[in-house]
Symmetry: C2
Subunit: 250 residues, 2 copies
DNA sequence: CGCGATCTTGATATGCGTCAACTGCGGTGG
DNA sequence: CCACCGCAGTTGACGCATATCAAGATCGCG
């Protein structure tokens, strides 16, 4: 249902019809000035009046909640092309901070709403983004619910790898934009457990450190097998791994 | 942004304009026959070709994924008025089964898509539902990431209570439609831990069993305090805490 | 009344959290 | 240019919450 945002047919159809309407989310934000955030700077806070929608054009953002005793739960990382601030509440339901230097463009909620309502091209794209976000949230629930520390970390590295390679094969180097503490808060672990688990993967030769914030993938097949995403025939796992790649091109 | 699904103004405006278009999701499905599912029966499975969208008119559905070693993660429970099957993938990303006897109505994806595209009344309602689902998913991530067994169970009971009372005050009895195993798979615990934690709450007089699948709320205030959702008067942080309460009408 | 399914309770194991010390790197100032 | 400082990350020792394994207990149903 609904064409996906990445489907080029959407844009082509719009051009053919010579519509003056906006055809991509990026165009929608194109009239807004870019704003920059320094590393660690906040974009908005949970509970703030939600007046704007933001499009990230560069960098990495973390969105998180703080609970009772002050602990932080990072519910997601957002990258160039993602939007943040979508909600129908009058306040933001989470906080957003720059992990790296970030560039964003903003639109008022009203302007955004009007554009969406008036553009049959944009609506499916928004729907698509929301569905992807929902699917990611469910995968994260599986991770937090049942995966071991090792499975969590491997899943996370795979996710980063896939993002960096743009859906093609795994890159040979994975860049980590975030700190160990960020990883811990995203994976539902402590910083110590993340550190120990990384060390174990290195000792097993599955990844090799490449500076403090990057790893080389020395055994990508093993990494995938350790994700705990099933279809594994237990210890063996290599042919099964291929199957999954075919079935879930994600 | 966008009126919420529960905002009566939407329907009133539509009537005033005498539009022939569908004004509520329920009307959208009203031409489809009701289908019934027995307790435990499946509606669709993860990986099935996703051909339909379903509206639940009665009963409770669980949606879940099965991972590697056969363990099950329930990512949500759905109730009358909810829709299930929304996605832009060609296959369902999770399975759906009846927890209680369930009645549903179905629409093909195409019919649903067309209706949404043609109805300015329906679109904000769909958007609203998706936003609520996203907010619930994030709350669940917080629960799974950082809450103790007791906090998880109390949060779950509060959620059930709020649903049953229709956003008003807590009801004095909470009905559990699901088994302990379902609760465990939803809360990221084992059935034994759920059972023990329930027993502890009973012994502390916070809840009182009322049959095997219902509890009376003897100390609703205590239950709320044990959710771990902050706003606790704990030891420190009082000014900050008050601020947060004001900001989160939740 | 008895059988199976669901739930509870108990004993033990373990993975991860906690607390604490240490390491190494990068920046800063003398 | 080097010495120092501070922070991010690592490593180690230990404890605890929850999982696991194993009996019972209770409920519903034939």
């Amino acid at each position: 249902m609904f064409s996906t945002a990445s489907n080029p047919k959407v844009a082509i159809a719009a051009m053919a019809a010579m519509k003056p309407q906006l055809a991509t989310m990026d165009e929608l934000f194109s009239t807004s000035p870019r704003e920059t955030l320094e590393m660690g700077e906040g974009l908005f806070w949970e509970g703030d009046r939600a007046q704007h929608i933001f499009e990230i054009t560069e960098g990495v953002l973390r969105i998180f909640k703080i609970i009772a005793d002050g602990r932080r739960v990072i519910t997601g990382f957002l990258y160039a092309g993602d939007m943040v601030g979508l909600s129908l509440k009058n306040v933001y339901l989470y906080s957003a901070e720059a992990v790296t230097p970030v560039k964003v463009r903003r639109l008022t909620r009203k302007a955004f709403q009007d554009a969406i309502e008036n553009s049959p091209e944009l609506r499916p794209q928004l729907f698509s983004l929301m569905c992807d976000e929902m699917a990611a949230a469910q995968d994260q629930m599986v991770l937090l619910s049942r995966k071991s520390a090792e499975e969590r970390l491997c899943s996370f590295l795979m996710m980063l790898g896939q993002r960096q390679s743009g859906q093609t094969q795994m890159p040979k180097t994975i860049q980590l934009a975030m700190s160990r503490q960020d990883m811990a808060d995203y994976l539902g672990l402590t910083i110590e457990t993340v550190s120990r688990t990384v060390t174990k993967l290195i000792q097993r030769g599955i990844i090799t450190p490449n500076g403090r914030h990057a790893f080389d993938l020395t055994k990508p097949g093993k990494l995938l097998a350790l994700c705990g995403d099933g279809d594994s025939y237990e210890d063996v796992g290599d042919p099964a791994v291929k199957t999954r790649q075919a079935v879930w091109p994600h």
